[in-house]
């Protein structure tokens, strides 16, 4: 223990107050500054490991925006990060810590694929049938993701179970069971890899602008539309005010007539619905079938960093996702086109996450512990 607890506390208090009081511009500045600083440190690490940092930097740029292919790959990841980031942001804003986006997206994804596969025999072939099935798949994913997230919501609201623990455990359950099903009953006899049947012809999002088979501007549009709906819902509706107020100060929300239990369940459900969409977009736009969920990228977890970087603001999630999408995209490029080992790339992404997300994390911690609070 410090022999000077009062002073340590004061110093902490000042730092916390500074962070809590930062204006929007300052926070954007902090985010941009820390990203730049993190990349710089990353280059130093690369140089220290004996690689050419300039070449590495060049590869990063080339790998994210250097070609049409790289650019659409960046946008593809960005789309997933936007949806997953919004799912996390919705919950965090309401003071509910949904760490289960990964599990919810797996459940949403498999629900999407299964509903399409089951209904396909009853639907005429062709573009109209395909579009119809696509919509059904998206809808099924939203419902399944929402229900899967409502479960920890109910457990928290009515039985006091900590949502951080239950959502993490439900991640394992979703990944385990879906993994078994995809490798077992759902795996076609002729499949060489662990996967479901292919989605029928015509199901999917047409790429329209770019000729990348794994990216559609419609997918990105869907993600941006979700951002818009959530942002408007949070700021301009009674329900959004209830939710955000619960996140800021649950006692005041309750006194103002908010039913805290229902709000927790509703928040988790909404968060899970958006998470379910991530799985659907992954299955429909990128894969065309569903794979072993342990092989799906950790979008649900990275989304926590995306959301923190965006200060849990759904609109802020868009630029944050662009950054993460670009890093993810250039990571896969550097892995192939340079001798920098993949672990190092992950490490650098880690530094970026640490730098950009840490200030926001401290803000949330400071709020929870009351540092930098109501002193005048």
């Amino acid at each position: 223990m410090s022999d000077d607890p009062g002073r340590t506390r004061e110093a902490l208090d000042r730092v916390a107050a500074r962070l809590l009081d930062a204006s929007v511009y300052e926070r954007v500045g902090i985010a941009v500054g820390s990203t730049g600083l993190a990349l710089l440190i990353g280059l130093v690490v690369v140089a220290a490991a004996g690689h050419n940092p300039l070449l590495f930097a060049q590869q990063l740029v080339v790998g994210s925006v250097g070609s049409t292919g790289a650019f659409t790959r960046t946008l593809r990841f960005t789309t997933l990060f936007i949806l997953a980031g919004v799912a996390v942001a919705v919950a965090f804003r309401a003071g509910v810590f949904n760490i289960g986006v990964q599990g919810q997206l797996v459940v949403g994804g498999i629900a999407c694929v299964l509903s399409i596969l089951w209904l396909a025999p009853f639907v005429p072939n062709g573009p109209v049938g395909g579009a119809g099935l696509t919509l059904v798949g998206l809808f099924a994913a939203v419902v399944a993701g929402g229900l899967y997230a409502a479960l920890p919501g109910v457990l928290k609201a009515y039985y006091g179970a900590n949502e951080i623990i239950t959502t993490i455990m439900l991640n394992f359950i979703a990944i385990g069971i879906v993994g078994w099903a995809v490798d077992g009953p759902l795996r076609p006899d002729d499949a060489r890899s662990v996967r479901t049947e292919y989605l029928p012809e015509g199901v999917g999002l047409p790429s329209l602008v770019f000729s990348d088979p794994n990216f559609s501007i419609l997918g990105l549009g869907l993600a941006l539309a979700v951002v818009g709906v959530v942002a408007v819902g949070m700021t301009r509706t009674s329900f959004g005010y209830d939710m955000v107020t619960s996140g800021y100060q649950a006692s005041a929300a309750t006194f103002s007539g908010v039913d805290p239990q229902r709000t927790i369940v509703a928040t988790m459900t909404l968060s899970g619905m958006v998470a379910g969409l991530v799985g659907a977009v992954f299955a429909i736009m990128i894969q065309g079938y569903f794979i072993d969920p342990s092989g799906i990228g950790t979008y649900g977890f990275d989304a926590i960093a995306v959301s923190l970087l965006a200060a849990n603001n759904p609109v802020g999630v868009v630029p944050a996702s662009l950054l993460f999408g670009a890093l993810e995209s250039s990571g896969s490029h550097v892995q192939i086109h340079s001798d920098v080992p993949v672990q190092l790339i992950d490490g650098i992404v880690g530094i970026v996450v640490l730098f950009v997300a840490a200030p926001e994390l401290f803000r949330m911690l400071a709020k929870r512990t009351g540092l930098g609070g109501e002193k005048r």
Binding site: A252, T254, F255, S256, G373, E374
Partner: protein, 545 residues
């Protein structure tokens, strides 16, 4: 005490600014040895800032501090403590999960062979407690979180004494205490003075200051208005110095007579969170044009009763009616929409979202009420207009709707809450401690508004631990003790002593009741807390939930 001895503390021309705000403007202050000196002023007048300068928390921009005649400068509270100055903050600085003993010795542990010598510490603390008649040594092994606020405060005082403080600063020490605990504290201060300590006592409550202090320094807007001897001044004079204008303690005579019952309960019983019956078979009626006062020592079931009235809790038995319609199971939101407004007990936690600006706070509680919300969609321009109206009508400072709620002083926060709650034309107002921690100017304002609302036809339930407030506002006072209404009395014809007895659970004898006729003038006199001192303190926890 000799005339030549230097004062315990002398502050000369202390100036302290925060940005453009001058919190202290060349303030002089002189604390005589072995005296109790009150620092009186409204919220935001600079009392706490001045003391934080003395305690080394802030560094003054100009001016000097003398302790025992020596000029001193303190870089930190540690320096101030070394000079024998201790401060008990409004928000206690105790580690709640740790025991009283651990808290007292924290940072000054007696060490024996590298280990904390708990026995030595215990002995020393017990000696201290015996000397001053503290009861703190009964709880040495109890975690602080299990103690009531009054006991925690005494732990803080013992902690300061243990560190060798000769001069004690108490910042609003009575804000968190019940009337009985206040009385105990004031006795304790006397005791400390008698043992040679000098005390500074920050307050904005006139009665207390008059009862406890030898000398009173009044601060207003960062200036020291005057220093007077308590014996030579009056409530009226102090209030004028504090506010800067005449303050009326007279209430206008009521014009309207009570009308139809608006809110009623029928044999309401509530089993509390710990399985104990907190409210038993309460029948309550509030009429239009009426203020019903509920008196009682905190922790006698008022909180649970309030929750059943506002809709935050479903009672275990009994019914609640609004204008004759049963609403027992109706939740807070529907009750709010039906016209039951409420001023919360805890304005910081429940009344305002500290991080929100005043516009967003103006929506709190109104988020489903037209015109601020239509079919679930919010109309922020209507909310903003509402916020501006509240600010103007209730004289909220600063008059800036974009100010963060947490940055306002307590009085202004409370005015804003009162303004918001009565903004959508309710039929019933549940007002829990509407002026707790509020300065005199705001208090007068809120009282006047409540009386106006009564004239306009509201039925008001007023829960307060301040007898003078109940007396000034209520048409009827019911006394709540251990969950039941044990008596209903007339606010004018009942003395504080009698109310105190009732609050302690003793029903008034027939005889005593007859006597009250002769004592009807007592209403204007200062509270006589003698009787209240007999009220047994309810053991902790209850009020800390």
């Amino acid at each position: 005490m000799t005339a030549d001895a230097p004062p315990a503390v002398r502050l000369e021309e202390i100036t302290k600014t925060f940005g453009d705000v001058v919190a202290n403007d060349a303030v002089d202050f002189r604390l005589e040895r072995e005296s109790i000196h009150a620092l009186l002023g409204e919220n935001g007048s600079g009392k706490t800032t001045l003391m934080n300068v003395l305690y080394g928390l802030y560094e003054q921009d100009a001016g000097t501090i003398h302790v025992d005649g020596e000029p001193r400068s303190f870089d930190s509270p540690q320096d101030a403590m070394a000079a024998g100055i201790g401060m008990i903050h409004q928000h206690f600085q105790l580690v709640e999960p740790m025991t009283v003993l651990q808290n007292v010795v924290l940072g000054h542990e007696p060490i024996d062979g590298g280990l904390v010598d708990e026995d030595a510490a215990r002995e020393e603390i017990e000696a201290l407690c015996n000397r001053y008649g503290f009861d703190v040594d009964d709880h040495l092994e109890t975690p602080v979180e299990e103690l009531d606020l009054g006991t925690r405060q005494r732990v803080e005082i013992v902690k300061s004494l243990y560190r060798g403080a000769d001069t004690l600063i108490l910042d609003e020490p009575t804000a968190v205490l019940t009337p009985q605990e206040v009385e105990g504290l004031l006795d304790l201060l006397e005791e400390l003075r008698a043992s040679g300590r000098s005390l500074i006592f920050i307050s904005h409550k006139l009665e207390e200051v008059l009862a406890a202090a030898d000398r009173i320094t009044v601060l207003r807007d960062g200036h020291a208005v005057d220093t007077v001897a308590a014996a030579d001044t009056s409530r009226q004079e102090l209030a004028r110095m504090m506010v800067g204008r005449e303050v009326s303690f007279e209430r206008p005579a009521r014009e309207a007579v009570p009308g139809e019952p608006v809110l009623e309960t029928e044999e309401l019983s509530i089993v509390g969170d710990r399985g104990l019956e907190r409210v038993s078979e309460i029948d309550l009626t509030v009429r239009a044009h009426e203020i019903l006062g509920i008196a009682g020592v905190q922790g006698n079931g008022q909180t649970e009763l309030i929750e059943a009235l506002t809709g935050h809790r479903v009672p275990d038995e009994g019914r609640v009616h609004l204008r004759g319609e049963e609403i027992t199971d109706v939740g807070r939101r529907q009750r709010l929409e039906a016209g039951i407004a409420a001023i919360p007990e805890d304005r910081n936690a429940e009344g305002l979202v500290q991080e929100y600006d005043l516009v967003k706070n103006a929506l709190l509680g109104n988020q489903t009420v037209p015109p601020y919300a239509n079919d679930g969609w919010l109309d922020w321009s209507a909310v903003e207009t509402h916020a501006e109206e509240i600010i103007e009508e209730f004289d909220v400072h600063p008059p800036d709707p974009t100010a963060r709620a947490g940055s306002l002083s307590g009085g202004n926060q409370q005015k804003f809450i009162v303004g918001r709650e009565i903004g959508h034309d309710p039929d019933v107002l549940i007002a829990a401690h509407p002026t707790r921690g509020v300065d005199v100017g705001s208090l007068e304002f809120i009282h006047d508004r409540l009386l106006e609302l009564r004239e306009e036809g509201l039925g008001i339930v007023l829960i307060s631990s301040k007898l003078d407030e109940l007396r000034a506002l209520a048409d009827r006072i019911v006394v709540m003790y251990e969950g039941a209404f044990i008596d209903e009395v007339d606010p004018i014809e009942t003395s504080d002593a009698e109310l105190g007895l009732l609050m302690a659970g003793q029903r008034l004898e027939e005889e005593a009741e007859r006597e009250t006729g002769d004592r009807s003038t007592l209403g204007e006199t200062r509270p006589e807390p003698d009787a209240e001192a007999t009220v047994d303190r309810r053991s902790g926890g209850d009020r800390e939930r």
